[in-house]
């Protein structure tokens, strides 16, 4: 009985065929999909938000055609802005106590963000999913084997 010969090729594991996400590598998809601005029609804390919605919101919406802007009533409450992202997370930013340009900055903060959770970024300079091109150093594969 001849023993079964070993296959010449390595088996292709299906987990190796999946791709890891790299938004922006070749194509960039903006991560923010909707911004909802909620304010009260009567309270004074929403006065600056009302001014922003009446004067500036249209220009911001025209400059960001990929985002859906919604204006909603939030009676007898402080004004907020909610941003909804493609990773199913949302960012809620209170607009209470800001001037009109401060409110514009907060809306821009929501538009610039990717929806990822805020994490410490001081030490996370390069986040890579690819192995190094030159490989990992081995003490056995040098001219003189490395002696500990």
């Amino acid at each position: 009985m001849a023993s079964a010969t070993k296959a010449a090729t390595r088996p292709l594991l299906r987990a190796s065929l999946s791709s890891s996400p790299a938004n922006g590598h070749v194509a960039f998809i903006p991560q923010v999909r909707k911004v909802v601005i909620e304010y009260c029609d009567s309270w004074a804390s929403s006065a600056n938000t009302r001014t922003f919605v009446h004067n500036h919101l249209e220009n911001v919406a025209r400059a960001n055609p990929h985002v859906e802007f919604v204006v909603k009533q939030r009676t007898h409450k402080e004004p907020i802005a909610r941003g909804f992202y493609l990773n199913n997370r949302d960012k809620v930013v209170p607009l209470h106590g800001f001037e009109v340009n401060g409110i514009a900055n907060k809306i821009q903060l929501i538009l610039d963000s990717s929806g990822a959770k805020i994490k410490p970024l001081k030490r996370r300079t390069v986040e890579s999913t690819t192995e190094s091109a030159r490989g990992i150093w081995s003490g056995l594969h040098v001219d003189e084997p490395f002696k500990i």
Partner: protein, 152 residues
């Protein structure tokens, strides 16, 4: 017996791994040698700091205020391009008409909240500062050797 055999097998492995040294004549042929390998890396200066970058990396740098989300930046200071066995080093940088690497601005974020507490004892001076550092995240694109223009 095994101890007697082991050193010779190690030496054989070391010899088999060393290829003959190759020194290409011009940067274009060097780049084509580098591109023939499956993966490449680039050492580039971004915002005043040098980083070792590969395609599909996410690079976090201090906030770049002149740039919007979605903009594509070309890395101008590339010091080194390399692959597994070959490296091309610039003097001090490789000119942009040889290699092109682009980075897309993915987001402008802030880091986690840092609470800084200052106190001078017995002087009645203490204060708490809350701070979030601003960052820009860039996605590195593919490393492309620029083809020299054909002379007709």
């Amino acid at each position: 017996m095994a101890a007697f055999l082991r050193p010779s097998s190690l030496r054989v492995a070391a010899r088999a791994l060393h290829t003959h040294p190759v020194s290409p004549s011009n940067p274009a042929s060097a780049l084509s040698l580098i591109a023939s390998h499956p993966s490449q890396y680039v050492v580039a200066s971004v915002a005043g700091r040098k980083y070792l970058l590969a395609p599909r990396d996410l690079l976090t740098v201090p906030r770049l205020n002149d740039v919007k989300v979605g903009d594509v930046l070309a890395l101008s200071d590339i010091h080194e391009v390399g692959s597994r066995e070959f490296t091309l080093r610039g003097n001090p940088t490789i000119p942009p008409d040889a290699v092109k690497v682009e980075a897309t601005v993915v987001e402008h974020t802030k880091g986690a909240m840092e609470v800084i507490f200052k106190k001078k004892r017995r002087k009645g001076y203490q204060k708490t500062i809350k701070h979030k550092q601003t960052y820009t995240r860039l996605r590195i694109g593919p490393i492309e050797p620029v083809e020299p223009p054909h002379q007709s």
